[in-house]
Amino acid sequence: MHPVDDFSLANPPSNERLLDALAKDFVESRFDIRHIEHVILNSRVYQLSSKTNETNRLDKVNYAHSYARPMMAEVVIDVLNSALGASERWGSEVKEGSHAIELGISDTGVPPLGENIMYALRRFGLPQRSSACDCQRVSAPSVAQELFLMTDPGLLKKLGSGRGRLPKLLAADMTDDQVLDELFLGALSRWPDESERRAFHDYRRKGTDRRAAFTDALWGLINTREFILNH
């Protein structure tokens, strides 16, 4: 279904038999959400790699392989916080450390949300709640989003903030390589490869300030396509 919450005659599913089978299974499991998640997440199609092979590299429809896709606005906030080791303050009514995706945020522009987070959510497509469905949500990249990731003052502050991932790593007794590993794992869930390691070491040699070099590296990581796309 695209969009996912628009079940209507005007918006037929792309694969009706599959949707029916899933619906049947959901009913038979007595509406067990964990069960249907389990089924979907373990399916072959869901687990397809976005890496292409000789026979499917030109395919752009029908899921011959997984396609890179943008993340929802709330998820962008969450993955940024996760990569930077930061957390969001949602105000007194919400437990600190809650994920944006758990909250059901409306773009009403009123507290407890700070202005900063609302700005980010709007940039990444959270719709203003001016109609009943979620179909106003725009999940497409834009220059404005890139600019946000590169320059947002709130985000830049988090990069080096005292409670974040980077200061902790720098304070610990770790080699440059170990810190770089941790930053890659935190942002991209993978180790740096040889060329990336080399690029960082070259960069590190040019400057003297260890903290600045790693801050720049972390900035670089959250600005990659690999970081911001679901792939």
Partner: protein, 459 residues
């Protein structure tokens, strides 16, 4: 009839509909398979552009400012009045003379009346879609909407076919946070508009400004640092080239990264958005409103090299053109004074700076409104007749194209459609409106399926 399929300076089509461009595309296609990186791809693309048939065309305008009246303006009370029609059609307003001989417009547009000798008004525009969304798509793409293909908005076409020098975004949209206007469609997200919001300065509801957050680097973030970080980012991003790099999204995002870096490096875009650089007089002349300051920003952006700017005068700017009830009250007290002040300021200012000759100002909405007034003194959606105003960039000065019948229900002479106006604008920008582009799946698509250049409105 005023349509013509060709003009004297119109170039005959090349034997292959794409001519050189098709070969260039093919080369790029195979180059992509051979594993060329994005920079090489872009270089090939720019070489293809240099050999583009559009290069040889006569180009009479560089930029467009689309002033979009969201909701459908009641043009029968503005640009095409019917003073001799019965009460229930004529409405409450009277026509006034303008500085263009024989052209009369509504009495609540006095400043525009003083400027009509610089404008073309098209009174015979008509289409058949009285739905906001679809009509907006039709008007802003120049293609009747179809479920099988999303056509690009005019701004995206211009961004693709007549891009500016590096450093300024090709296509900016101001005050359209909900993205009502068309996006890049089959051209892919790389050609979507760079959307900026206009808002009131905090603690000062009397001063509107463009939200430049993100367009400028914070104070402690230098251009050198940006270059360093950018280089590091690219070396970390290279691994992703292996992942589905032919996907539009991945490619589009790559283009956005480069554009974002270019914008941050460029002083001119940054300065253009800083409205405080204008004198208080100029700012007041445009109007200290979201719409007024949006139009001022549009002029500054065009000066800085941006090719296409959309300024939406919609709900978010406090203007509701969808006047189903109390049409005359809204027009008289809010809508027309706002439009009259800002649009006239924009055209006058462009002219005074010598920019109007190369800049097209296009003021339109998705449709007109019913000639017959409804029970709540309102007018409803009416696509079968509407009027638009165009100025600058090769459009005639002091000219009215076509007419509607006695009751304003439908065009009476020289009918034209949204496709025709779109083709005319694109033609003035030196872009062949009959050329083909390719969709991501390689399907050739004509820029406009129906559009023909309206030669009568062009100098």
């Amino acid at each position: 009839m005023t349509h013509s399929t060709s003009r004297n300076d119109y170039q005959p089509k090349s034997p292959s509909p794409l001519g050189f461009a098709r070969r260039a595309f093919l080369r790029i296609g195979t180059a992509g398979l051979a594993g060329l990186g994005l920079p090489q791809f872009l270089e090939l693309e720019s070489r293809a552009r240099a050999a583009d048939p559009n290069r040889a065309r006569r180009k009479r305008a560089d930029s467009v400012i689309l002033v979009w009246l969201t909701g459908g303006p009641s043009t029968i009370d503005m640009w095409d009045m019917k003073p001799d029609a019965p009460d229930e059609i004529r409405g409450e307003f009277k026509p006034i003379d303008t500085r263009a001989d024989g052209i009369r417009i509504g009495e609540h547009l006095p400043n525009m009346a003083g400027l009509m000798h610089r404008c073309t008004v098209v009174r015979s525009l008509a289409h058949t879609i009285p739905d906001h969304g679809l009509a907006t798509t039709f008007m802003t793409t120049g293609n009747r909407p179809t479920p099988v293909l999303a056509y690009p908005g005019l701004g995206s076409l211009v961004a693709r076919l007549a891009p500016p020098e590096r450093g300024s975004p090709p296509y900016v949209s101001l005050g359209d946070p909900e993205r009502v206007l068309s996006l890049a469609g089959y051209l892919g997200p790389a050609y979507d508009p760079f959307g900026l919001e206009v808002g009131f300065v905090r603690f000062n509801p009397l001063e509107a400004a463009v939200d430049t957050r993100g367009v400028t680097l914070p104070a402690d973030f230098t251009i050198d640092q940006l270059a360093n970080r950018g280089a590091l980012m690219r070396s970390f991003d290279r691994a992703f080239d292996a992942v589905d790099r032919k996907a539009d999204l991945v490619d589009g995002l790559g283009a956005f990264q480069r554009q974002a870096l270019d914008i941050l490096r460029s002083k001119s875009t940054r300065d253009a958005l800083d409205l405080s650089r204008e004198s208080a007089d100029v700012r007041d002349r445009y109007g200290q409103t979201l719409f007024g300051q949006g139009c001022l920003a549009a002029r500054r952006l065009v000066e800085a090299g941006v090719r296409f700017v959309t300024v939406a005068a919609g709900l978010n700017t406090g203007l509701n053109w969808d006047t189903h009830g109390q049409n005359f009250l809204s027009l008289r007290t809010t809508l027309l004074p706002a439009l009259d002040q800002t649009l006239s300021a924009l055209i006058e200012d462009l002219d005074a700076r010598g920019l109007l000759a190369r800049t097209i100002v296009y003021c339109a909405g998705e449709f007109g409104r019913t000639p017959r007034i409804n029970k709540t003194a309102g007018r409803d959606h009416w696509a079968r007749s509407m009027a638009v105003v165009l100025a600058g960039g090769g459009f005639k000065r002091g000219y009215a194209e076509g007419s509607t019948d006695a009751e304003g229900m439908a065009p009476a002479s020289a009918p034209c459609t949204p496709d025709d106006i779109a083709a005319t604008i694109v033609d003035l920008l030196g872009i062949d409106p009959h050329q083909e582009l390719q969709t991501p799946s390689g399907r050739p698509v004509q820029l406009f399926r129906e559009g023909r250049v309206v030669s009568d409105v062009v100098v």
